[in-house]
């Protein structure tokens, strides 16, 4: 117990420092927020945009310099009174639809949008066919039992303790 004690202390200290570390990381991610309301709007738009430098992160989450610049761009455009859809369009015009986390519905993205529904329909159709063809087959195999077999099965079902 005496040996365990310092170790436990250290562990507890680590645990206590964890939130502090997380807060520090948060502070680094957040830019200088002069106006919290504006900053919240900036982040709302930034969360809709993919960072092209680290492609699986949003511009809101990324630490890349480009993400910082683009957040600054969003901030300035909001200050100029531009609407969020206008800002998203601005980004898509320069970096492509790829930056939009919600891809627009157009000819190129039709498969992306309709593919899952098409697959669901296909699976539903396959299931329906399977169920429809399986039923008569089962009934037929059940009737193949002879009278003696049927009687034996009946006996087995009625007395669960009995071993054949």
């Amino acid at each position: 117990m005496r040996l365990l004690h310092p170790l436990l202390c250290r562990l507890l200290l680590c645990l206590a420092l964890l939130p502090a570390g997380a807060a520090l990381a948060q502070g680094m991610a957040a830019p200088a927020a002069a106006d919290p309301a504006l900053e919240a709007r900036v982040m709302l738009i930034a969360e809709e945009l993919r960072c092209l430098v680290c492609q699986n992160e949003t511009i809101a989450a990324s630490h890349a310099e480009l993400a910082l610049d683009l957040r600054q761009q969003i901030r300035q455009q909001l200050e100029q009174g531009r609407t969020p859809p206008q800002i998203l369009e601005f980004m898509a015009e320069r970096y492509g639809d790829f930056v939009l986390y919600r891809p627009p519905l157009k000819a190129q993205t039709l498969l992306l949008w309709l593919g899952p529904f098409a697959l669901l329909l296909l699976a539903g159709w396959a299931l329906w066919r399977q169920l429809r063809t399986a039923k008569p087959g089962d009934a037929a195999s059940a009737s193949h039992l002879s009278a003696a077999e049927f009687e034996r099965a009946q006996r087995l079902l009625q007395s669960p303790g009995e071993r054949p």
Binding site: L52, V53, Q55, E65, L66, D69, L70, Q73, A92, E93, R94, Y95, G96, D97, F98
Partner: protein
């Protein structure tokens, strides 16, 4: 399974999956096609690196086929393509314009002094604003612009000898450079 054909369905589905995986591995997700292709070069004007009092705009190059190369002294990949650009500028009359992206002037000038300056002129995009207009997301990037000021090609990453020989030079020829 009453129908023998149905027995092969899982294997067929697996092969289709495998084919998609194979195609997926061949793709280069880092090279995002630019929506600016076949669109007019954005309008901007920037001070030149050599003489900050002077400025240059893409409009000044109207009527010529030219290349815009985005570079920075802090960019490691730029060093690998740089000898190729220096060589290109010696062999060809096509104007090669540099866009010095988010760099410090003194460091940019020192970098050109060390590795050679292939650019007819370099523009200082200190805050990266023009980079955003051009959809730049990784340095280096190289644009081919035609006589009408339309972006005809964008190369992402360091220009390789193969890309220059197989894509950029034929395109320049086609555009009548």
């Amino acid at each position: 399974m009453r129908r023998p054909l149905l027995r092969w369905l899982p294997l067929a589905a697996f092969l289709v999956l495998l084919a998609f995986l194979g195609i997926g591995l061949q793709l280069k997700p880092r090279e995002v096609p630019s929506p600016l292709l076949n669109k007019a070069m954005p309008v901007f004007s920037l001070p030149t690196l050599a003489q900050p009092a002077q400025s240059l705009s893409p409009q000044d190059l109207r009527g010529q086929v030219w290349l815009l190369n985005v570079w920075a002294s802090w960019c490691v990949a730029c060093q690998s393509e740089h000898p190729l650009l220096v060589d290109f500028s010696k062999r060809h009359a096509v104007p090669l314009i540099g866009l010095n992206y988010k760099d410090r002037r003194d460091e940019a000038l020192r970098w050109l002094g060390r590795y050679g300056d292939p650019y007819r002129s370099s523009l200082s995009d200190t805050d990266g604003r023009v980079g955003i207009e051009l959809g730049v997301y990784g340095v280096p990037e190289t644009f081919v612009i035609d006589r009408e000021g339309v972006i005809r090609y964008k190369h992402i990453g360091a220009v390789t000898p193969e890309a220059l020989r197989d894509v950029i030079l034929p395109l320049l020829g086609k555009l009548g450079a």
